[in-house]
Symmetry: C2
C-alpha cells in the first residue's frame, strides 16, 4: 500500500525529486514557471497529498485532537462531538473519538493510545472518576479541557460547564408559579457533581417555599430505561404528585412515555420537565419543556479553548454557560 | 509541550538512553534484571508512553482509520459510528470522524486530510455523489469500505449494505395482511440508491395487489422536519389514507408527531411504519413499528472488512444484511 509520492511526480514530469520538493514546498524561486506548472498539474492529476505525519514529527504537532466521551449514541454527547468536530475542522484539526461507557479503565487505555498518536490535546467528558487518566495527560504535557462534568475531589482543571443549579432553580420557579406543589425530582448518578448541583437547586427552591420533602428525590440512571423505571415507581408510590423534574432529557422522555402509557394527561395531571434540550426533546407529542444547555456553544468553546492552550494563548480556566428555560407542551 | 521521553527515564534511572531503549523495546538480553525492573518502574511512574507516530512512519501503518459520514447527530450514523469505534478499538485502531453534511466538497477535503494523516483506511458513508473523493483514495492506495449507501453510477466498490427492497416488501405485506389498502409511501432524496431500492419494493408489492397509485409516493428530506412537513401535506390532500410507510425512522417520528397532534388515532385510523430501528424508535408512545436494519452489525462488519483489507486478507466485496420487521405500537 503506497501513497502517491514526490518520486511518482518526478518520474512523470521528467525532473528530479528535489525539484518536485522545491515546488511543492514553495521554495521554487530558481525554477521556471513552465516546470512549476507542469509539476503542480501532475500533482493534481495524481491526487498527490503531502505527508502530514512526517511534518508532525518535525513540528511536534499532529493537528489532531481526541475526544474522550461516555457514548456517542447518547444525543447529548453526539451533539457536543459534532460541535467540537465542526470547530476543529475549521481550525485544521482532525478529531479522534473514543467511547468509554464512563469506565475509568477504558479512559486510561484511550488516554495512552491518544498520547502515543501524539494528539495535540484532549477534550475529556469524564465518567466522574478520571483522576488517573488526567494525571497521565499531565505527565506527558498533553493539554485537556473538561466539558459538562467535573472530576470528583478536583476542581482546578480547565473546563466548560453549564450553571446546573441555576437551571433547576429556573425550572422549579416556573412550575411553582403555575401552582404546582408536589414536585418529584429525579436525579442521575448522585456521585456526579452535575447531579449534586442539580439536587442543590431543588433543595434550595423547595425549602424556600416550605415544600421540601426528602422522599420526593429519586435516583436513577441517566438513560431512557432509567427514566421509565423510576417513573413507574413514582406513580405507584405517590398518588399526589403533580409534576416530575428529570435531571436530563433522555430520562424525561422515558418518563413521559410511561405517563402517557398509563393514561396520565400531560400536563393536565402531571407536568414534566427535562434538562439539556437535546434535539430530540421536541420529537415527542407533547414536546418536552426543558432547561436548555447551550450544547453546541459549549462544544465549540471547549474546542476553541483547547486549541488556544495548544497555541500557547492565555485562556479562562473555567467557563460557565447559562441555562435557559424552554417552555413547550409538557408543562 | 513535551511528552515523557526515554531520555527522562534514563536520567532518573542513571543509565544511558540506549539502555532504556533496549529495555522498552524488549531487546534486553544483555541487561540485568535489576536495571530492567528499575527502568520499567520509572517508565510507569513517569507515565511514559511510546511514540506511535515514529513507529507508524517506519511501518507505514498508523493504526488509525477514518469515518466519513453525513452527520454524527443523526442517530443512524451515531449508532454505526459507535459500532465501528468499538470494533476498531478491539483491534487496536483509533478512529477519526468527519461530518460532511453529505456535501461532496467537504468529503474531498476530509479525504485529503485523512490521507495526509496516513490513515490506514476509510469507512465512507457517502452523500451519493462521492466519485471524486473515492478516486483520490484509490490513487493513494488507501482502502475504503462503503456503508449503507452506494455511489451513483458505480457499484464495484467494497461495501456493507442492507437489503432495502426486501425490507419494504416485508413491511407492506404485513400492513396489507392487516387489511390496510390506502398506503402512502414517503421516500427520502430520490437520487440515493437506498431510496430507489425502497421505492421499488413499494411499487412491486402495491402493483401485485393492484393497489399501486403513483400519487401515493411522496418525497421529503430524511429528517424529522421532512417527516413533519410531508405528513401535513399527506393528511390534508388524502382523506382516505389508512397507513403511511416512511423510508426512515426519523421521518416516521416526525410524521407520528403530526398525526397525534392533529388528533388521529395511531394505529386506529392511520398505521405508521418506519425503517432503520434506531434506538429512539421506541422512545415514543405508541412505539414505532419499523423495519430493523442490523445497524450495529453493519458497522462492525464494515470495520472488520476494512481491517481485513488493510491486513491483506481476502474479503467479500459486497456484504448484504437482511432487514427484519419489528412490530410495535403504531400498526
Amino acid at each position: 500500500m503506497k501513497k502517491v509520492t514526490m518520486k511518482d511526480i518526478a518520474i512523470k514530469a521528467g525532473v528530479s525529486k528535489a525539484t518536485v520538493s522545491m515546488v511543492l514546498n514553495k521554495k521554487d524561486g530558481s525554477i521556471s514557471a513552465e516546470t512549476k506548472n507542469k509539476i503542480l498539474k501532475i500533482a493534481e492529476e495524481l491526487n498527490y497529498i503531502p505527508n502530514g505525519v512526517a511534518r508532525s514529527l518535525s513540528t511536534n504537532k499532529s493537528e489532531t485532537i481526541g475526544i474522550i466521551l461516555p457514548d456517542i449514541i447518547n444525543p447529548f454527547f453526539s451533539e457536543i462531538a459534532r460541535a467540537i468536530e465542526d470547530t476543529a475542522s475549521k481550525l485544521n484539526y482532525n478529531v479522534i473519538f473514543c467511547n468509554t461507557d464512563s469506565d475509568v479503565y477504558k479512559e486510561i487505555n484511550y488516554t495512552k493510545l491518544l498520547i502515543s498518536k501524539l494528539v495535540d490535546g484532549v477534550i475529556f467528558i469524564t465518567g466522574g472518576k478520571s483522576n488517573h487518566p488526567l494525571e497521565i495527560l499531565q505527565s506527558n504535557n498533553v493539554p485537556f479541557v473538561l466539558v459538562d462534568r467535573d472530576v470528583e475531589d478536583q476542581d482546578n482543571y480547565c473546563g466548560v460547564y453549564c450553571l446546573n443549579k441555576e437551571g433547576v432553580i429556573q425550572g422549579l420557579e416556573y412550575l411553582i408559579s403555575k401552582g404546582r406543589k408536589n414536585i418529584a425530582f429525579v436525579t442521575g448518578n448522585k456521585g456526579l457533581k452535575v447531579s449534586k448541583q442539580r439536587i442543590e437547586g431543588y433543595k434550595d427552591v423547595m425549602s424556600k417555599y416550605d415544600m421540601f420533602k426528602e422522599n420526593l428525590i429519586f435516583e436513577s440512571d441517566f438513560t431512557i430505561e432509567g427514566g421509565m423505571e423510576i417513573t413507574e415507581k413514582i406513580i405507584s408510590e405517590n398518588k399526589e404528585i403533580d409534576s416530575i423534574f428529570y435531571s436530563n432529557d433522555i430520562m424525561a422522555l422515558g418518563g413521559l412515555k410511561v405517563l402517557l402509557r398509563r393514561g396520565f394527561k400531560v400536563p393536565g395531571e402531571i407536568s414534566v420537565i427535562g434538562f439539556d434540550n437535546i434535539n430530540i426533546s421536541n420529537f415527542t407529542e407533547p414536546e418536552l419543556t426543558t432547561i436548555a444547555q447551550p450544547i453546541y456553544e459549549m462544544g465549540k468553546q471547549s474546542c476553541e479553548t483547547l486549541i488556544d492552550i495548544i497555541d500557547g494563548n492565555a485562556v479562562n480556566n473555567k467557563i460557565y454557560f447559562k441555562p435557559e428555560l424552554i417552555i413547550r407542551g409538557t408543562t
